[in-house]
């Protein structure tokens, strides 16, 4: 009997995937005249609590296309916003991600795929798109194993590149840098001696928690406990007692808002633990503050810090600051942190389309890979041979009066990334 519900879920997921597909097909614009249209897809979790974050990413993508008047080198750019999350999960769904990637691969006009937001979803889409030769630019994936040999599992990133070519690029620095920055912040600024490390058992969350643990060992921060939590548990009170009993003076959670980061924070505070709570960029969205509520995030309850692989919107300079200004004028609010990454991912893709002599997948892929000293919203950067950005500025943020508030920027030199 107990199995009945779980068995229903995949069916529901497939049904909703079909429903999304039908909707997407119905909403697709009528074919343009001639073949002078290139298509760009994005695949992001549009359903669920990441919605606010991904809406601003999509807005960023649209703004990048609008800036060029919807045309590159005489070719019209058509854009379609795909959803890889289902309401049943309230989180990204592997069936939907696979369906999105297949859809892009099969569309002859498709030359680029902007996504994913979740590293776990990238794992599914990467091999599909790599086989089809579609270039993929991610605004949000930070798990190192997707690109860096030796940073993840032994067979990573080879398994994501069945064609042998690098076809996946990202504009955001990876967790091997972010995890180290978080650890260094705990040691140097918070003067922590003993950390309790939790993770959500997902690719991204466990990945960054592993890096944190490794960096802790290197910098003399004792790790009192390292545990994967149940991301759907109703509360974490007993875990909090365990944390209290170890006397940890900082708690790090490798996980996302969708995987209950706010609940863990609330239970820590109501369980009488005031230790600083540090979490990575997967919680750097308004939904985290909303879910935690004002009590758990008040300064008296205990400090909260969020690391991020870049600068928050209001601290961007140059083109980035211009983007934030334009965004504010258009949408009436400061964009969420990843908006500028969506904007940058789309701009670098459009720039490559512009530079490519032939407007086909192979030429555009080669042009993206050849991106050097790109003057973008995040500064001037290049893609390295793995598809990673050379941009390495990180920031530490906190929450003040219900808003994210910038604490400090950390510029990790290129030599640090190991």
């Amino acid at each position: 009997m107990a199995m009945i519900r779980p068995m229903i879920r995949p069916i529901a997921a497939v049904t909703s995937a079909l429903a999304c597909l039908t909707l997407a097909l119905a909403a697709a614009p009528a074919p343009q005249d001639g073949a002078k249209t290139l298509k760009v897809f994005s695949s992001l979790p549009r359903t669920g609590s990441a919605n606010s974050q991904t809406t601003s990413i999509v807005n960023g993508i649209k703004m990048a296309i609008e800036e060029r008047g919807g045309q590159v080198d005489g070719w019209t750019i058509a854009y379609e916003d795909l959803d890889d999350a289902s309401p049943q999960k309230g989180n990204w769904d592997q069936n939907l991600e696979a369906a999105n990637a297949n859809k892009a691969a099969k569309d002859p006009a498709c030359v680029g795929y902007i996504g994913t937001y979740n590293s776990g979803a990238a794992k599914i889409a990467m091999p599909i798109l790599n086989k089809a030769g579609v270039v993929m630019v991610s605004p949000g994936n930070t798990y190192p194993g997707l690109t860096k040999p030796g940073a993840g599992e032994p067979n990573e990133p080879k398994i994501y590149r069945p064609s042998g070519k690098v076809s996946y690029f990202r504009v955001v620095p990876t967790d091997d840098i972010q995890g180290a920055v978080a650890c260094e912040f705990c040691v140097q600024d918070l003067k922590a001696k003993k950390a309790f490390v939790l993770h959500d058992r997902e690719l991204y969350g466990k990945g960054i928690a592993d890096v944190f643990k490794k960096s802790a060992a290197a910098s003399g921060l004792e790790v009192a406990g390292f545990e994967g939590v149940d991301p759907k548990a109703s509360n974490y009170r007993s875990l909090v007692t365990k944390i209290r009993s170890t006397g940890a003076d900082v708690v790090f959670y490798g996980g996302t808002t969708q995987n209950n980061a706010a609940q863990i924070l609330k239970d820590l505070r109501s369980g009488g633990c005031k230790a600083p709570f540090v979490s990575p960029d997967g919680t750097f969205e308004k939904a985290y503050i909303e879910a935690a509520g004002k009590d758990a995030m008040s300064p008296e309850a205990g400090p909260v810090f969020i690391t991020f692989g870049g600068l928050p919107s209001e601290k961007l300079t140059g083109l980035g600051a211009e983007f934030v200004k334009k965004y504010q004028a258009k949408h009436g609010e400061i964009p969420e942190a990843y908006a500028v990454y969506g904007y940058e991912a789309c701009r670098v893709l459009l720039d490559a389309i512009d530079r490519a002599d032939a407007k086909d997948r192979a030429a555009i892929l080669a042009a993206v890979a050849a991106t050097k000293d790109f003057r973008g919203a995040l500064g001037t950067w290049s893609f390295d041979e793995n598809g990673d950005t050379t941009h390495r500025t990180m920031s530490v943020n906190t929450v003040k009066d219900g808003e994210f508030s910038f604490v400090k920027a950390v510029d990790s030199g290129a030599g640090k990334a190991k």
């Binding site: 009997m1 107990a2 009945i4 519900r5 229903i8 669920g48 609590s49 919605n51 606010s52 309401p87 309230g90 140097q188 600024d189 918070l190 003067k191 058992r201 545990e227 994967g228 149940d230 759907k232 548990a233 109703s234 509360n235 974490y236 009170r237 007993s238 875990l239 007692t241 365990k242 209290r244 009993s245 170890t246 003076d249 209950n260 706010a262 609330k266 505070r269 109501s270 633990c273 005031k274 230790a275 600083p276 308004k286 939904a287 909303e290 879910a291 509520g293 004002k294 009590d295 400090p303 810090f305 906190t398 910038f406 604490v407 400090k408 950390v410 510029d411 990790s412 030199g413 640090k416």
Partner: protein, 348 residues
């Protein structure tokens, strides 16, 4: 090496983080083995009481119509949304003192009536027409009802709730205000018994006592027991079977409503997906205790709560679900009718 760039205003925030001195973050490092155990017991009992309250709803319905009401957890979820909306609409988080206590009682009562009526309605619309159909059809109807309720929750979450807006996303978990502040009610050594822990006890114990009284000593209770034993015979004795079934759904649902409010205050989070986990834990508890048996559901709930706490505390959090299901399998293998499921089963 990392090069840190920090401005004065940001350093102020860091200073704030360290304001009460670095060692204070680690002040709890002195919990003794016994204190850890006692604290885990407190947590386990509180969680277990909430599970038990929901489990009663499963077991009552099963006892009378032999249906596993899979929609029950999701009914509780809707109860939590109802409570959140009521709190938001009335600005109740700002009510202090006696007004707060009175408001809390009113909130509990209103949510209980809401959930009871909803459960009664679900029974009337989805289950009653299938009374003569096979048990499997009834079960499928329950699963269908569960989906309908989940999606109602998703819709509800998307409605603008000005005061405690869950933001711009329907599916996002929403913060439930701490109507009972999560402060220690009293401490024994370093063991904290928080005010929400006390609330859980103050709500669940009288309800369980009341339910026992109702089933044992009232006319309705007698009728319920009669219908559970043999609906046909009960009808022949002049009992309005459908009315008794409806009453059981109402009572089971309203207990779920109480549980929803207590759960929301205890965990301070409401989300449309929470019903699944609430329902699953309670369902296991009901089966563990012997489904159809009221004291069994309470015993099962407490056991699940305690096992969860002990597993989180002494094994590892990621094994907890495996431990709970493992125990369920063992019980079903060696005592298929559950812990308190007697050979001569007296349902309800």
């Amino acid at each position: 090496m990392l090069r840190a760039v920090a401005a004065a205003e940001q350093l102020a925030i860091l200073a704030l983080a360290r304001a009460d001195g670095v060692p204070s973050f680690a002040a709890d490092g002195t919990l003794s083995t016994w204190e850890v155990l006692s604290q885990q017991l407190v947590t386990g009992l509180s969680n277990g009481m909430i599970i038990a309250l929901i489990a009663i709803g499963y077991t009552m319905v099963y006892g009378i119509v032999e249906l596993i009401n899979f929609a029950h957890g999701d009914l509780c979820m809707l109860g939590a949304f109802f409570a959140l909306t009521a709190v938001g609409a009335l600005g109740m988080d700002a009510w202090g003192g006696a007004g707060g206590t009175l408001g809390l009682v009113a909130l509990l009562a209103a949510t209980a009536v809401f959930c009871g009526s909803l459960n009664w309605t679900v029974n009337r619309l989805a289950y009653r027409p299938l009374r003569k159909a096979s048990k499997l059809s009834l079960l499928v109807a329950a699963i269908g009802a569960s989906f309908v309720l989940v999606n109602l929750g998703l819709f509800w979450g998307g409605m603008p709730m000005e005061v405690f807006s869950g933001g711009n996303s329907a599916a996002a978990p929403k913060a439930f205000p701490a109507l009972v502040e999560p402060k220690p009610a009293f401490t024994v050594g370093d063991v904290i018994v928080s005010r929400p822990d006390v609330l859980v006890l103050c709500v669940t114990l009288p309800l369980m006592a009341g339910l026992t009284w109702l089933v044992r000593f009232t006319k309705l209770g007698k009728a319920m027991r009669a219908v559970a034993q043999n609906p046909t015979a009960a009808a022949l004795m002049g009992i309005d079977v459908e009315r008794v079934i409806g009453a059981s759904f109402f009572i089971g649902g309203s207990l779920g409503g109480f549980a929803a409010v207590v759960y929301s205050i205890y965990n301070q989070t409401v989300g449309f997906q929470m019903g699944y986990r609430m329902g699953m834990d309670a369902f296991i508890a009901a089966v563990l205790g012997g489904i159809g048996n009221l004291p069994g559901a309470v015993l099962g709930g407490l056991l699940i709560g305690l096992v969860r706490a002990m597993s989180d505390g002494y094994i590892e959090a990621r094994w907890t679900n495996s431990v709970v299901f493992g125990i369920l399998i063992l019980i079903l293998v060696f005592r298929p009718s559950g812990l308190l499921g007697a050979k001569l089963r007296e349902k309800v």
